[in-house]
């Protein structure tokens, strides 16, 4: 339905004057800013955790004993390993080794799914024990206000994080398929790099959540 008269053609692709380099730089700036917003999103939760830990130090310490430290630690290993896989995948695409990159990305996806599975097992255990927050809270051995808040924060922090893992697994799956199709090479791999950055952030956030909820 274009009513355009005969004039210099408007090329839909040419939305910027900038070179490919400028576009790649824009993508990186955008991703870094986005990651900053993600950090601040979690910052509100970390603040809440700090406040209630000061309010109920004893209860928080006691409730922490209730955590499945084994599962949490296993999950940390899974996530860090998958993050390393992604880092190596980006490196191998730069070296034009697409096959290796596809394999590494696939490993990362599987490890991410492993994380979610373990998380699900852990959640199921908590639900059985009655550690759900709010009106469903049923753990008799812990005093109600502090411990209920602890489990609320546990579910919200790990829940929001698990949502990020889920998104990350989705992103990595798409990137795996695209890498297998040979979309990325040593010359062009910006989406892969950005997806990798996101996955590293998910990893880094867990590296703060895990000690706070399971170890301290």
């Amino acid at each position: 339905m274009s009513l355009e008269p005969a004039s210099p053609p408007v090329v839909p692709q040419a939305s910027h004057f900038g070179s490919d380099a400028a576009r790649e730089q824009a993508a990186h700036v955008g991703m870094w800013v986005f990651l900053a917003t993600e950090v601040l999103l979690f910052a509100a939760l970390f603040t809440a955790y700090a406040v209630y830990r000061v309010d109920y130090p004893e209860t928080f310490r006691a409730a922490r004993e209730h955590m499945k430290v084994g599962i949490g630690t296993a999950n940390t290993y899974l996530l860090v390993t998958s993050s390393i896989c992604v880092a190596f995948a980006v490196w191998s695409v730069r070296q034009e080794r697409t096959g290796l990159a596809t394999f590494l990305l696939l490993c990362a996806v599987v490890l991410g799914l492993g994380f979610l599975t373990l998380k699900g097992v852990e959640y199921a255990a908590h639900v059985r024990e009655g550690a759900l927050p709010g009106r469903w809270y049923a753990l008799e051995e812990f005093p109600r206000p502090g411990a209920s808040l602890y489990f609320t924060l546990y579910f919200v922090m790990t829940g929001v994080h698990a949502l990020h893992v889920l998104v990350g697994v989705g992103v990595l799956s798409v990137l795996t398929v695209q890498t297998a199709w040979g979309k990325y090479s040593g010359r062009y791999h910006t989406p892969l790099e950005l997806g990798g950055m996101y996955w590293h952030l998910v990893d880094v956030i867990w590296l703060f959540v895990w000690p706070l909820l399971y170890l301290v």
């Binding site: 700036v29 206000p145 609320t152």
Partner: protein, 545 residues
Amino acid sequence: MFPPANDPPRAHSHPAVSYLDSERTVWSWLTTHDHKRIGVMFLGLLVFMLFLGGVFALALRVELLTPGRTIMSHEAYNRAFTLHGVIMVWLFLIPSIPSSFGNFLLPLMVGAKDVAFPRLNLLSLYLFVLGAVMVVWALVQGGADTGWTFYTPFSTSTPSEVLPVLLGVFVVGFSTILTGLNFIATVHTMRAPDVTWMKMPLFVWGIYGTSIIQVLATPVLGMVLLLVAFERVAGVGLFDPARGGDPLLYQHLFWFYSHPAVYIMVLPGMGVVSELVCACSRKNALSYRMIVWSTLGIAFVGFFTWGHHMFVSGQSTFGVGVFSVLSMLVAIFTAIKVFAWVGTLYRGSIAITAPLAYVLGFIFFIVFGGLTGVAVAVASLDQHWHDTYFVVAHFHFIMVGASLMAFLAALHYWFPKMFGRRYPEGLGVGVAMLIVFGFIATFVPQFLLGNMGMPRRYAEYPERFQSLHVASTAGASLLGFGFLAILIYLVWSLRHGAVASANPWASRGYEWMTQSPPPPHNFHEVPRHPDGPHQYDVPGVPHVS
């Protein structure tokens, strides 16, 4: 009428295809990636929201005409002021200038063909629509009665429709974050070769400073709103003292966003004014660098002032003192700007046009509102004025007086650029004066009311306050007429206004160096900007005849 000195190079003149008529289907608008079309669609939505919020404002003023019940129940009054606040703050003021004029002008002003992420830009428009629909849906369901601040534990226990409003604001917050992210990436990476950091138009600096605040503060608001929603649904007790939670934590997290949000509303307005004082007085900006650094200064200090909303919440005396002093710092940066604007206007070649009339209104409101801001930042005075109409009048001076003046100034100044038509100038100036007068008549009585002890959020009041309330309502009705008049003559001008040249204000701003309205991709080749955007002291500068 005006010399075409800044017109685009004649070599490229061809039957002018503008972004408005390159494609005409509705579908082409709904799926566009063109920042100009997205900006215009935002403008339409925002004007509608302003209308909606304004209707609630007038309803409130009518209710307050008499000391007792006038037109609505107390419950309806609570819901009306909540929706007035929610709609005005989140659906109008925060996105007003950045999402509409920022979207339209920022790429033009930095010499880019579009923003860095055009598809993300369209997504941000749809997120805004989604959020607005959720809020309006809550309104249809009966509305919320918490006030726009959603203070806990009331907001987690009231039976009114708080949930859709919370989630709607959360979604609109996402829209703001994406827009800010897009602008930051655009300013960093898409500037034309001539547009160095210190040759960037001051409006772009204003939008850039705003974007930084949007990106850093909004996620915290988003999370805390989600937590309140979670608390309503599951009763988890994070902010409910009866369950061991802490309502002050909510206030801290909320104001960590919502105080900087004031600067999200004001900084773009300051950008508009910085831009317009140069164009309307035909002079270089007095101290471009100071205007830029004070923009960044406000963006920075704005993050350390939230505690002044909580002076009477029982925080430590030390905390009160620190927040008091930090809040006053904002006044210093604002004063730098005001001096720069007044200095720019001083001995300039001034013609009173509608944009300039609004700019003068802005300067008056920002000075008056800013000085009362310093007054309420003094903890001892705030004890007296806290939660009275004094505070209401103060923040309306800043948020509505200043931000809305800037919005109207921008609307009139860039109208020819956006639509290629001019509005009737004499009428514009007349209505501008009506509006500035209406504001003063509406809110000066409220300062007096607050000082006499009239608390905010009350539907009933003692009889001795009535005369001032009547005066305020009279002013508000003048405002209502003024806005209606603007709407009518601007819509009329869309079709019947005089055709505008490429640069009807003879401005040096970069956005005027392309045709009006601009072609779909802004420029046909990389634009060259040998002079700065506010430079009027070079030979051969165009001037208004």
